[in-house]
Symmetry: C2
Subunit: 351 residues, 2 copies
């Protein structure tokens, strides 16, 4: 199969760029004594998770039980599930998963910890991290004192083992997160609690991860593919973006406008604070101005030349992770032009 | 299966509301002598497409070949494909589809028409509509003169049959669309061309469809489920919204904030011009303030009471169509509480 055989819209993955991105991040982590625990949400592909581990990752990160189950099925054996697992059905699945892989999970409330404690026994304890809100304003305890209280609650539960502190920091504010975690670690240690692991994440600030001495483990996700939002945040260049959406020009109704067969069902509506919905390397002045589900409207008024109906063009999306969730299959393109189609095994695992 | 057996996040469909929405729209169309050709992108379910036809629809609308193929497989026999079909691989699929259903398609350029003309023969001609840009600024010829030129090109092609004019009008501007179509019809008729069908669409303005006498056929999509954006545009009330997303509160880190296990992978990032990412009927003052892929952050500062960790709540999403594309399965809930899980057969048909 070659590029010409691919119908659009489709996801193309540059095999060499993927490998280079993986190696670069692992080398960075190794050189700073950081453990790497990649978030598989970006690719949702077991063979890439296995490659991440082969290159030196200490394990993988998943956000959904369903994604973790797919990875466990494929032989991945060390998983951190960075989500509050709540309710009897999910706790049963968590227990079953813990019986076949080395599993850790997070909590940011007594209620969630009590759910874990009621499910696990001392013979086979569950490792639980306390999730800390170091500035993101999503999940996580808002103060170091609350982190201490929850760590103590985990430590006191027979079936649980305190794993350490976990955060997903606000983008662009790794220093703030480091100060928060420093204070929390001091409090926990003063209270006699060991903090085995402090885990942080996020691709935008990953190349500064070593500046926070308190952090022992890092969980980047997007770094494997990169995207337009990461370029905007100086985490990479467009030449490092491994995921492109291949689209066809299906309409050119005015001199200033062409329409692609890639809309929000392909690129998603994520802007991540950017203007427009993707970058077209072959037409850098073009602006993907609006999306319907199946149409991408491109303003080509600033372009010297414009693509014609039937032309196929590649798009760097704003956000790679959400794009892979929209496709049943992706296409790996080798430097020899050979194309391999791969099913996205953990796509659509919403629960 | 009952509601309690459903793991979150999940899509719930109120079976009675679905049926009422279908009947109301068909009765409206019938009372005004309008043909109804529902767009199946909203539900992507063959059994609902069949029900739409059973109630009186003249056929269905699809936007993707892949969706049309799934519908044809299920026995739907009259399909309008409102998309420019471009390129040899897709034209082959179009030909194969035309051999098993009554098919019509659209074009807004000579290049697209020539692709059809090169594929179809006089013995089994393809019906082609001219897509008109009546104000939306997406696909479609921008002037009535261009509509005439393309209609003549279709009419002159041996393997093609001119089907009429098609538009997807700008929301809130049906009058503008009607004036555009009136002028185009006059020009075509003056030139000796019959215009068998004039087809328009869009749920927001569907209850005004009869005001445009030029329109003979209407293609609403969202009306079957309705959503928050349609309430905002006065096309329905929240009591008519048949699609809800069931989510669980997984975190309550501050008095003002709870976090749901429904993020952009569940609700999508579509705002459709609205503030926030959905409406929670049980907590009408709550505001779904931001989404990550797996988290929905809800501002509950204006609520008298707030949900607790483990509570399950229902959300009316901004945009129903994109939500059904994110789920492999949806759940139909009957008035007796019985739940039936159904696979979304045409989900993810991106091409």
């Amino acid at each position: 199969m070659t590029l010409d055989d691919i119908e659009t819209p489709a996801v193309l993955l540059d095999r060499e760029r993927v490998e280079r991105n993986l190696q670069k991040a692992q080398a960075y982590a190794d050189s700073h004594g950081l453990k790497l625990r990649p978030h598989i949400k970006t690719h949702k592909l077991p063979h890439l998770a296995a490659r991440q581990v082969e290159l030196g990752a200490c394990g993988i990160t998943c956000q959904k039980l369903g994604e973790a189950e797919i990875m466990a099925d494929a032989g991945l054996s060390d998983i951190l599930l960075t989500f509050n697992i709540v309710g009897p059905a999910k706790l049963r699945r968590l227990k079953a998963l813990a019986e076949r892989v080395t599993l850790a999970v997070t909590a940011d409330s007594a209620a969630t910890i009590d759910g874990y404690a009621g499910t696990f026994r001392a013979e086979a304890p569950l490792t639980v991290f306390v999730e800390c809100d170091t500035g993101m304003g999503r999940c996580g305890v808002p103060t170091a004192d609350e982190a201490l209280a929850l760590a103590q609650r985990i430590d006191a539960a027979e079936g649980l083992h305190f794993g350490g502190l976990m955060t997903f920091p606000a983008a662009g504010k790794p220093d703030e997160a480091a100060r928060w975690l420093d204070e929390a670690c001091r409090k926990l240690k003063t209270a006699g609690l060991d903090v085995p692991v402090v885990t942080s994440g996020g691709t935008p600030d990953m190349w500064r991860a070593h500046e926070a001495e308190v952090v022992t483990e890092y969980r980047p996700g997007t770094y494997i593919y990169m995207d337009r939002s990461q370029v905007a945040r100086d985490a990479c260049t467009f030449d490092e973006c491994a995921l492109h959406v291949l689209a066809t020009v299906v309409s050119a109704p005015t001199p200033d406008r062409v329409v692609l067969d890639a809309g929000s069902k392909t690129l998603s509506s994520d802007t991540l604070g950017l203007e427009g919905f993707g970058f077209i390397p072959a037409y850098p002045e073009a602006r993907i101005a609006s999306l319907s589900e199946e149409h991408g409207v491109v303003d080509v008024s600033a372009c010297e030349r414009r693509p014609a109906i039937g032309d196929r063009i590649e798009i760097v999306p704003n956000h790679a992770c959400v794009v892979t969730n929209l496709f049943d299959e992706v296409h790996f393109v080798g430097s020899n032009g050979h194309v391999e189609r791969v099913r996205v095994a953990a796509r659509g695992r919403v629960d």
